[in-house]
Amino acid sequence: MDAPRKSKPCLSGVGLTKVFGLGRRTTVAVDHVDFEFREGEVISIVGESGSGKTTLAKMLLGLINPTEGEVYFQGQKRDISSHRKRQEYWKNIQAIFQDPFSAYNIFNKIDTVLLDCIHMRGGRGLPRAKKIELMTEACGFVNLKFEEMTNKYPFELSGGQMQRLMIARIFLLKPKILLADEPTSMIDACSRATILDYLMKLRDEVGMTLIFITHDIGLAYYVSDTVYIMEHGRFVESGTADRVILHPQEPYTKRLISDVPKIYEEWDLSTV
């Protein structure tokens, strides 16, 4: 799979670092990482819990400021110095968070969540019927019934339904880049595959770059073109999924793979 290599870089980082805390009790969550994500690819960032994946994602989203380093968006230095500029930036990059239970404002109804997306895409002036049509379409995309969702609060849904609603949200927003931060890790096992399917279907539909964050290297192999392995805030290995997972160079990568022995059993290795 060499095709994506030819596309333009859409998001890259140089020396990106985040240090939490002050004085002696500091945690280096992300430690001078460099990367170049290319348009249209599915990129996986794989690492154990606490390796700094979420912190990196939040820096890429512009939700927290890097301690050091720069992010380049579509080849240019990213400028998110004011809230207005950030609002502009967020039209291009969106996220699905790890924990759907804490990602919703419990005081807002589901309709609000979806309407916000329509408004963000400039649909504030649309007639009510058109808005409902869009929301119904978005819910239908993830196999939810809008009639059942309307006037409900997020906490009345199951975790799987909440995460599907998140995908419906992205469906309405159609961003250029989507960061999915362990979107299935808090979901019951049965819903996981469904969520993943919708996510891949969404990517094909919208044609966006997908940055998929996971601790499950098997999942990364299954979905991605490019894989970055993260350990203690550093990228220790990166490359095409086949290269990294089937021919790992680093001991850390090897350990991650050996923790998931199923890979070699379940996948056909004849392509190697």
Binding site: L63, R86, K91, Q94, A95, D99, D116, C117
Partner: protein
């Protein structure tokens, strides 16, 4: 939301506090409708009349109807009720000392006792072993018994307009009674009067109302400023946060009450209305609310639902109002309740020191304490002038703290017992 309200209603502590508070509020609202007198009206000359029912002497004599009860029984009952058990024992002692056999004297039989007294008592009789003071006391007792037994009435005389000579007008007999309803001026003073001769109950009800208003105004001011600054400082941070934290820290170092005293003092007695005091209290109380709201906001601002709201393109004011404020609202309600009750206490404290609202307009709980203290009600044992005020302050604070604890238990399930 509905669920939370139901939980609040089910919290025993909250409801107990709420009921006490509503009862106080109802009394404050309804009492003036029943007793429309101005609360600071001086109704009697003299200070500190004890609680009781007062009948105007003049009006009782001039009451339109006079019920004359010519009943011997009534006279006997009147005497019997006026003759205390102590007096009876004293009389018996004298009679025994004078030589009457003790078993012939029955202190319960008023008529017989009075007869025995009348036929035997002689002030000149020297009883061995009796001090002069004691025999004087017996002479006074005899005089009062004679007064009681006298059947002659008091003559009310008036001066003739032309000659100026006294003319007998009407005789008021000892057996004359007046129905209390016929007397124009009957005053029920359940809590007596204060040092100025004002009805303590009416004053207390009004003072409670004013103090609650002061607490409310102070609470609203403190909560509004504290909430706004807390939200802004916590969410936006930067220079605003530095400023807020600086003031807040200043207030933690300088006790608020000292500041209050200084400000109140510098305002001057004439300019200190009740609402000036309330405003001053509110303006010195906000840092506490600001500090705790800020702490809550800081822990909220990095939550994912706030991040999602940002990613949904909302402006900062929208995020603060929709994604932060609802999450701190329950906390702010609790802080507000505490601010009201502390506002009431602060006013009381200031007024006790003589730095409360100026005294000519309205009473407040603090002012009543101040008056009672200045006029030494506590030394003179005029408990009705200060004890009810203290109880009211305690009851208000208690009810608000109960409500607060109840809310706290609903909002922080970890505190439930």
């Amino acid at each position: 939301m509905k669920h939370t309200l139901r939980q609040v209603a089910r919290s025993g502590k909250f409801m107990a506090g709420f009921i006490i508070f509503v009862a106080i509020l109802l009394i404050v609202i309804i009492y003036p409708l029943l007793v429309p007198d101005p609360p600071l009206q001086i109704i009697a000359q003299g200070t500190f009349f004890p609680p009781g029912i007062y009948v105007n002497t003049y009006d009782s004599i001039n009451a339109p109807t006079t019920y004359t009860l010519h009943l011997d029984d009534a006279a006997a009952k009147r005497v019997a009720s006026k003759l205390s058990q102590e007096n009876r024992t004293e009389m018996k002692n004298w009679l025994v000392a004078a030589g009457l056999p003790a078993d012939e004297i029955d202190t319960a039989d008023t008529e017989q006792l009075l007869n025995q007294w009348g036929s035997h008592y002689d002030p000149r009789l020297q009883i061995p072993g009796m001090t002069l003071a004691k025999s004087r006391a017996y002479q006074r007792l005899n005089a009062s018994i004679q007064g009681l037994l006298s059947t002659e009435g008091a003559i009310i005389a008036s001066r003739a307009a032309d000659t100026g000579a006294l003319q007998a007008g009407r005789e008021v007999k000892q057996t004359d009674y007046v129905n209390i309803r016929e007397v124009a001026n009957v005053r029920f003073l359940p809590l007596g009067t204060d040092n100025f001769g004002r009805d303590v109950l009416t004053e207390l009800v009004r003072a409670t109302g004013v103090s609650l208003q002061i607490g409310l105004v102070a609470g609203i001011i403190a909560t509004l400023i504290g909430l706004t600054l807390g939200l802004a400082a916590g969410y936006i941070g930067g220079l605003l946060d530095d400023f807020t934290m600086f003031i807040t820290n200043l207030f933690t170092v300088i006790p608020t009450f000292v500041l209050l005293i200084l400000i109140s003092f510098s305002i001057g007695q004439d300019k200190r209305g009740a609402f000036t005091i309330a405003t001053v209290i509110g303006l010195t109380a906000w840092p506490w609310t600001a500090r705790s709201v800020r702490a809550q906001v800081i822990s909220l601002r990095n939550r994912d639902h706030v991040n999602l709201s940002k990613l949904s393109g909302h402006s900062i004011p929208h995020i603060i109002l929709n994604d932060i404020l609802p999450y701190v609202a329950s906390y702010v309600v609790m802080a507000f309740i505490l601010q009201i009750s502390s506002g009431i206490l602060q006013e009381a404290g200031l007024a006790i020191l003589g730095l409360g609202p100026r005294t000519t307009e309205v009473p407040t709980l603090g002012l009543m304490m101040n008056w009672a203290m200045i006029y030494q009600a506590h030394i003179l044992e005029k408990w009705w002038a200060y004890l009810p005020v203290l109880m009211t302050i305690a009851l208000i604070t208690f009810s608000m703290n109960l409500m607060n604890t109840g809310l706290d238990q609903v909002f922080n399930p970890a505190l439930r017992d």
